[in-house]
Amino acid sequence: MDIFYPVKLFADWLTLSLFAITPKTLLADAVNFFIYDTIKIFILLSVIIFIVSVIRSFLPPEKIRFILSHKNKYTGNIIASLLGIITPFCSCSAIPLFLGFVQAGVPLGVTFSFLVASPMINEVALVLLLGLFGWKIALIYILSGLIIAIFSGIIIGKLKVENLLESFVYQNTINGSVDLPKMSRKERIIYAKKYTLDILKKVWPYVLIGIGVGAFIHGYVPADFLAKYAGSDKWYAVPLAVLIGIPLYSNAAGIIPLVGALTEKGVAMGTTLAFMMSVTALSLPEFMILKKVMKTKLILIFAGIVGAGIMFTGILFNLILK
């Protein structure tokens, strides 16, 4: 049973009865699509972000660091990537996270696994994938993202690039952790509620615009319109998608619904996945911030490895998901 069936009924009622749009027209189709998707996405966003925030309140970065500094290399990369899923990546915390990990003795490669997974697999992207593409694509996205994060970290660890960090990074070492006051159950709920509202406040215009433009494309652009430019047989589609995705980070919430509609019009699924991964994982603002702690060369190596991983994933799924 589809738990969103009532939403569907509501969208039908709104479109046909309240707005009195002639059924089976392009306009009815686009309006219905917009109402249904918007409501569904906002329900999913509220529920999932709330749950993730509650989990997160049990695993603050300080605890994650403690876990990671006691793991050996490969297990460390895997656990770092998994923990990256529930940790939000915000520009405020990027540098403290990086320094905090490295100075507490978490290996550089493990730190990078975390740095890749944290923005790439975030709850907003997941909700949109789940709501607009279904659970299979969402799962493929998570698993590919994890694998890219794990291997990028392992490779960077093997490259011995410690000399490419700014010199002050290793001048300080810290041990031990601080005991922040424990949260009560009520405080966790308050925290999760506030966090969910904050995220919703931040992303709603992008989501609305994304779904709106998506609904327009869904209704008015002919199917397979884009196939001749971005079908799975076009070799340049994936690298191009990755390049276009790099400067778009701040709008990830609006881009996914848009891309969802483009996929219907002939953009291959692998290309879509690569594009979304590039939007979330490779971001220009993040690179600028990381420049405070590492040399440009290391940022390029980091972006190169992650970018190559994303392209490989895109090309692979273009071959598989025909």
Binding site: P60, P61, E62, R65, C90, S91, C92, S93, I95, P96, L97, L99, G100, F101, Q103, F168, N172, I174, G176, S177, V178, L180, P181, Y191, K194, Y195
Partner: protein, 82 residues
């Protein structure tokens, strides 16, 4: 926790939520009639050496009491009352 509060610091990387916490904390101090200046520190190394990895941080007597989020003013007041 009966020690007297001798210093209150907000530590951040200069991001918008760090400033918001700073403003809220100043307001909380005023409303509680505490006679302490709230200090704003943007040295990230200082945050790290406190053992915290999230910004912004609210520290009382150089001990972090809150990290990574901006709560409402009531919560800040309760943290300052200790």
């Amino acid at each position: 926790m009966e020690d007297k509060i001798t210093s209150i610091q907000v530590l951040g990387s200069g991001c918008p939520s760090c400033h918001k916490l700073f403003e809220l904390t100043k307001q909380a101090v005023k409303e509680l009639n505490l006679e302490i200046d709230v200090e704003y520190i943007d040295d990230i190394q200082k945050i790290i050496s406190m053992g915290v990895m999230q910004a912004p941080v609210l520290a009382v007597n150089s001990k972090p009491v809150l990290a990574g989020s901006v709560p409402d003013i009531q919560k800040i007041k309760s943290l300052l009352k200790c």
